[in-house]
């Protein structure tokens, strides 16, 4: 298991039509977020959620932040 990471930069805005936001961390992988309307990145920019579940980068190395792009698979595990 990886060490807990700082996710203080992550802000999730709930989609009122979809009930509570649900966040599921994947071991050595992204955070799966259900029920969000937008996800704010480190710069504070809001990104619209356009799919039923989104994977939010947790390794910090994604080139499509705030979204996961699979890069965690090619970096050494912490």
């Amino acid at each position: 298991m990886s060490a807990p990471r700082d996710r203080s930069h992550l802000t999730v805005v709930r989609d009122p039509a979809r009930g509570p936001v649900e966040v599921t961390p994947c071991p050595d992988g992204p955070l799966l977020v259900r029920g969000a309307e937008t996800v704010r990145d480190e710069e504070g920019d809001a990104h619209e959620v356009t799919r039923p579940v989104v994977a939010v980068c947790a390794c910090g190395k994604s080139q499509r932040k705030p979204w996961c792009d699979g890069t965690h698979k090619v970096i050494p595990k912490r």
Binding site: C26, P27, G29, P30, L32, T50, R51, P52, V53, V54, A55, Q63, R64, W67, C68, D69, G70, T71, K73, V74
Partner: protein, 357 residues
């Protein structure tokens, strides 16, 4: 879609029966399909496979015959009676073709399946290890760095076989699942099918990409151009999707497919931009970098992991499906790459030279 052009005895038997030499015939008029002759021919090839003299995955004729049988379950062919879908004689032929392919896949994936069964960690972790450590041909790296426009267009043509019906082979599996795996598969398919927006259906996005690089977006337009190994990529999905017996393998296949997608898609998008193609061509691949980073987690953890929780006995089948996905894709990729490295077309009929709009 027009029926394809036969490439040998087996596809001739199947396509000839469906089209009756050009006129529309109905299954009940048959006499057209000689099941015994097909059976004898398939068994002859199966015997040759056993001693290494034949490779069903590279058998253009056999794969085309099987693809034609399967296509009756998807969208069918212009001028072919839809009753053929459930014609017992044709199903008997399909079963012969499937048996030789499935036996070959099981034989050739055993080592990977055994290794993944013995590996440590939960199923998702072992499946990520399997997909991450499987050494396939470097098609994505080649497209990213070296491919010319003609090769990129060929790549799109190969890819069109499965991508213009993307997600459809997995939809057959939905009624065979229960509980968590079912809920997750539908959640994932909803994304594949555009989340309620027709223009975002992944099949449509790929059609847009084809069009933007000057290719025909019509379903089945390139069927006569692709080799058996590319048809086999499509056929494997249909084989696993259409048999309830193979539902766990279908989901294992799906998991491996998603888990071997986002990183390559980034490279494909990179190659497309290097060639200065319109952004619409890259859009499909950009979408899949992001979508498949979600889908791989859902497919491996919630669907495959959930299936094995429900029935620990299906683990081997899930891993068989995963190894099959990687193996079949590698065979097709290898044939494509070898052709390009020898400066020839990877298609059975090369594309006409066209200027990209």
């Amino acid at each position: 879609m027009q029926p394809p052009t036969a490439r040998g005895a087996l596809s001739e038997a199947v396509i000839g029966a469906l089209t009756g030499s050009g006129r529309q015939i109905r299954p009940e008029d048959q006499a057209a399909l000689d099941v015994e002759a097909v059976r004898a021919e398939v068994r002859r090839r199966a015997a040759a496979t056993g001693n290494g003299a034949a490779d069903p995955l590279r058998d253009d004729d056999l794969q085309l015959a099987l693809w034609t049988c399967y296509e009756l379950h998807y969208r069918g062919f212009d001028g072919v009676d839809s009753g053929w879908e459930w014609d017992p004689e044709l199903l008997a032929v399909r079963r012969e073709l499937e048996a030789v392919v499935e036996a070959d896949l099981r034989r050739r994936t055993t080592d990977w399946v055994d290794a993944a069964l013995e590996d440590r960690g939960d199923l998702a972790e072992r499946m990520f290890t399997l997909t991450g450590s499987f050494e396939g041909p470097p098609v994505a790296a080649y497209v990213q760095r070296d491919a010319g426009l003609a090769e990129l267009r060929e790549f799109m043509v190969h890819r069109s076989l499965v991508t213009l019906k993307e997600a459809d082979p997995q939809s057959w599996v939905i009624p065979r699942l229960v509980g968590g795996p079912k809920a997750t598969l539908v959640e994932l398919q909803y994304d594949e099918y555009g989340g309620g927006h027709a223009e975002r259906v992944h099949q449509t996005l790929f059609g847009d990409s084809l069009e933007a690089c000057g290719l025909d977006r019509a379903y089945g337009a390139y069927i006569d151009h692709v080799p058996g190994s590319t048809l086999a990529v499509s056929n494997t999905m249909s084989l696993l999707g259409l048999h309830r017996r193979l539902a766990p393998a279908a989901m294992g296949h799906f998991g491996a497919f998603e888990a071997s997608s986002s990183l390559p898609c980034r490279k494909y998008a990179g190659g497309i931009r290097r060639l200065n193609l319109p952004e619409a061509v890259a859009a499909y691949f950009d979408e899949h970098v992001e979508a498949d980073a979600v889908h791989e987690q859902l497919a491996l953890r919630s669907i495959c992991g959930g299936l094995v929780e429900q029935d620990p006995g299906c683990e081997r089948e899930v891993l068989f499906g995963a190894a099959t996905c990687l193996f079949v894709d590698a065979v097709a990729g290898e044939q494509m790459l070898t052709a390009w490295q020898q400066s020839r077309s990877s298609l059975t009929i090369p594309l006409a030279k066209e200027v990209v709009a």
